[in-house]
């Protein structure tokens, strides 16, 4: 919307708004490019110097020069990795408790080791994101219920504490020590706390798997914020299938019956919850970030792997090989889901139309219904 007379050469602006060009050079469009091709100079260029006029990209005043209204969260790949391993840890704690209660010894041992390994990895991922270990400890100075990150830090710490005791008890059980002496006493003590630790781990597991959805939703990132009703279900289902997947790889078929059932339930719930999430976002015209680009590719692949892994887990029966392959597919699907959702959110934050569009439609809707008292814009 310049006042240049070259505007007359331009076709009418309709259809979806043009994406912002990444550079000034790329912004040379329409009349500007015609000028450049015709080899005109500032002398015969109407309206000023040749390089000056195209420097202002076609003004589309539904936004401010295509700049993002909000800022994407400055998180790198450590955070989706954290979501993935944290999910495995949370659901593995449940599997460990179930295996412990039903006397599946190998499954219990494997899932406890998985839980402690993944919770350690998630801690490491958090510290890697923050930069220094003290920065994690800094969060333990306070409890803040309005901050999902603060709540999550305490959930993670609580989980890690119970998982640590359960793992210590598991290690103690696997050692054969001479009777009498301090070590044997420790071993007996750990056997005593085994059951409480398993219960504690099982109770902290679901919050660990679910809070990360709140962590993402409690931001203004359009895709994450608007999927607040569906994201927790996606995340717990994804956690269930990933943790089951790991145990399908590690544990013998004789003990993996419950894990197979949990894997199938997780995969089915994940598919359903993702479908509902996509429908919901589609309705808000926010579906695009989930469908296009690297995030779209990841989520499509995740869906295919979820279906394949779910069916594989369902029919694997006593075939260890098929079970292991399904397990790997399910774990990979879970990882891809996390990365896909995080990346889609980042994309939605970078483009102003995902911020302004839904907000304007929401505002219009309210105004049509006669609600005008809660607008940020007022008149005298």
């Amino acid at each position: 919307m310049t006042t240049s007379s070259f505007d007359s050469y331009r076709p009418p602006e309709d259809g979806p708004r043009r994406r912002r060009r990444s550079s000034v050079r790329g912004a040379v469009t329409g009349a500007g490019r015609d000028v450049a091709r015709a080899g005109r100079s500032w002398l015969n260029r109407d309206g000023g110097g040749r390089r000056e006029a195209p420097a202002v990209p076609d003004a589309e005043f539904s936004d401010y020069y295509g700049q993002a209204v909000i800022k994407p969260v400055p998180w790198k790949h450590e955070i989706p990795a954290y979501l993935f391993v944290g999910g495995i840890a949370g659901a593995s704690g449940l599997i460990a408790a179930g295996a412990s209660a039903t006397g599946r010894h190998t499954l219990r041992r494997n899932s406890r080791y998985t839980a402690i390994a993944t919770v350690a990895l998630s801690g490491a991922a958090l510290v890697a994101d923050l930069g220094r270990p003290e920065r994690f400890l800094n969060m333990l100075r306070t409890v803040k219920l309005t901050s999902p990150m603060s709540v999550g830090t305490w959930i993670l710490s609580g989980y890690a504490a119970f998982a640590g005791v359960a793992t210590a008890s598991e290690v103690a059980r696997s050692l054969t020590l001479p009777r009498g002496g301090v070590l044997a006493l420790v071993q007996d003590g750990l056997a005593l706390v085994d059951a409480p630790a398993a219960v504690g781990q099982a109770l902290f597991g679901p919050p660990l798997a679910a809070y990360t959805a709140v962590l993402l939703s409690d931001t203004v990132t359009p895709v994450w914020f608007e999927s607040r009703a569906q994201l927790p279900y996606v995340f717990v289902a994804s956690a269930a299938m990933a943790a089951s997947g790991v145990q399908l790889v590690l544990s013998p078929a004789a003990e993996s019956g419950p894990v197979r059932r949990l894997a199938v339930a997780g995969a089915a719930t994940d598919l359903l919850a993702m479908h509902l999430l996509e429908e919901h976002l589609e309705g808000l015209e926010l579906g695009e970030p989930l469908e296009t680009g690297p995030a779209g590719t990841k989520l499509r692949l995740a869906r295919a792997l979820t279906v394949a892994g779910g069916i594989g887990a369902l029919v694997s029966g006593r075939s260890r090989l098929l079970a292991a392959a399904s397990g790997i597919a399910l774990a990979a699907a879970s990882a891809l889901t996390r990365f896909g959702i995080v990346e889609a959110g980042m994309e939605s934050a970078k483009d102003p139309r995902y911020t302004v569009g839904p907000q304007k439609r929401r505002l219009e809707q309210r105004r049509r219904e006669g609600t005008v008292h809660d607008s940020i814009v007022t008149v005298g």
Partner: protein
């Protein structure tokens, strides 16, 4: 409303909620963009006073805007918007529509009697012009009956909104962000752990984590506070000794005003009435409504077009307003997982 219910949404006195037993009156800015000349003195004064590192001397190519937006090292940002006649008409029409819709008239005393205001109730300012012919100098007469220029520049100095319900403050896991006794939101760089969560929780895209891409203005090449979140403190250090913020003090056109929030909202109200009286129906206020998604902002703006034209969100909602709902859903999901795992272990043993 109870104390807890007030913490996440709705109108409230934020300083008192934060535990200040006898807080000062809430302070704020009123940025009147209709008299901003785009001199960027506020940007410079802010940089100077707060010793903010240089973050690039690029020409963005977007009119005369070279800083692009608010960030870790840009706490005041002047936006430049070029508009042609049809866009001005649209802005004027959208402003008139707001009046027709009966948008609320906020928190100000009854203004001086004017033809526009007689007998109206809440909202519903008739978009008619007052009687002419009183012989005085009137902007409409100066504009010769067609008061729509064929081109205009909108200049607007943006700043942190110091929201009543600040997303950044609520989600900070370390307590590095706090509510000052002036009702403003301040970051403590030495406590911030650089998690970046506040960046994603700001509905206005204000707060940012400083990167080492910033070029130092210091001789030793040292850029302070890299990796921690930074934003406007509303010159907390100056307020504490009874001074006004650097940007407001330096503004040559009094486009940036500073004072108690109540006073600022009242000024803003008077100004928008004045502009409407002169036929500038595009004038509107931004952030003066305590019922909005962030409970009203400490920084009030007078805009001459839709907020998104200036890169401001048209209907911002602080994400923590929905936090109870989010935790509830997560609770159901967690219980579902617990139940599913329990069910999986019941049944056939194989």
């Amino acid at each position: 409303m109870g104390y807890l219910a007030r913490q996440l949404a709705g109108p409230t006195d934020p300083a008192r909620d934060a535990g200040w037993s006898a807080p000062e009156e809430r302070k704020g800015f009123f940025t009147d963009t209709s008299i901003c000349i785009g001199c960027k003195a506020c940007e410079v004064a802010c940089k100077e006073w707060n010793a903010l590192p240089l973050d690039g001397l690029d020409l963005s190519g977007d009119s005369y805007d070279n800083t692009g937006g608010l960030g870790a090292s840009t706490w005041r940002h002047v936006a430049f918007v070029e508009q042609s006649q049809d866009r001005i008409e649209e802005a004027r029409a959208s402003g008139r529509r707001l009046v027709d819709l009966g948008m609320p008239q906020v928190g100000a005393p009854a203004p001086a009697p004017s033809a526009l205001r007689t007998g109206d109730t809440v909202g519903a300012v008739p978009p008619t012009l007052p009687d002419e012919g009183d012989g005085g100098l009137d902007i409409r007469n100066l504009l010769g009956g067609a008061p729509t220029p064929d081109f205009r520049w909108l200049m607007s100095s943006d700043v942190c909104k110091h929201c009543t319900h600040a997303g950044c403050l609520d989600v900070c896991p370390t307590g590095a962000l706090f509510r000052s006794e002036h009702g403003t939101v301040v970051v403590q760089a030495d406590i911030c752990n650089g998690c970046g969560y506040c960046v994603g929780a700001c509905p206005f895209g204000v707060i940012e984590r400083r990167t080492d891409a910033a070029v130092s203005v210091r001789k030793d090449g040292h850029v302070p506070d890299v990796g921690v979140a930074q934003k406007c403190t509303l010159c907390y250090d100056r307020l504490s000794v009874g001074q006004e913020p650097a940007c407001a003090q330096t503004c040559p056109t009094t486009s940036i005003r500073f004072g108690t929030r109540e006073e600022m909202v009242s000024l803003a109200h008077d100004r928008v009435v004045q502009l409407h009286d002169q036929g500038f129906t595009e004038a509107r206020l931004y952030g003066a409504n305590d019922e909005d998604g962030v409970g009203g902002t400490g920084s009030v703006f007078l805009l001459l077009d839709e907020p998104e034209v200036y890169g401001l969100p048209p209907d911002p909602v602080v994400p923590t307003a929905k936090l109870p709902e989010m935790f509830r859903q997560a609770g159901y999901a967690g219980l579902g997982l617990l139940g599913a795992a329990a069910l999986a272990f019941v049944g056939r043993r194989r």
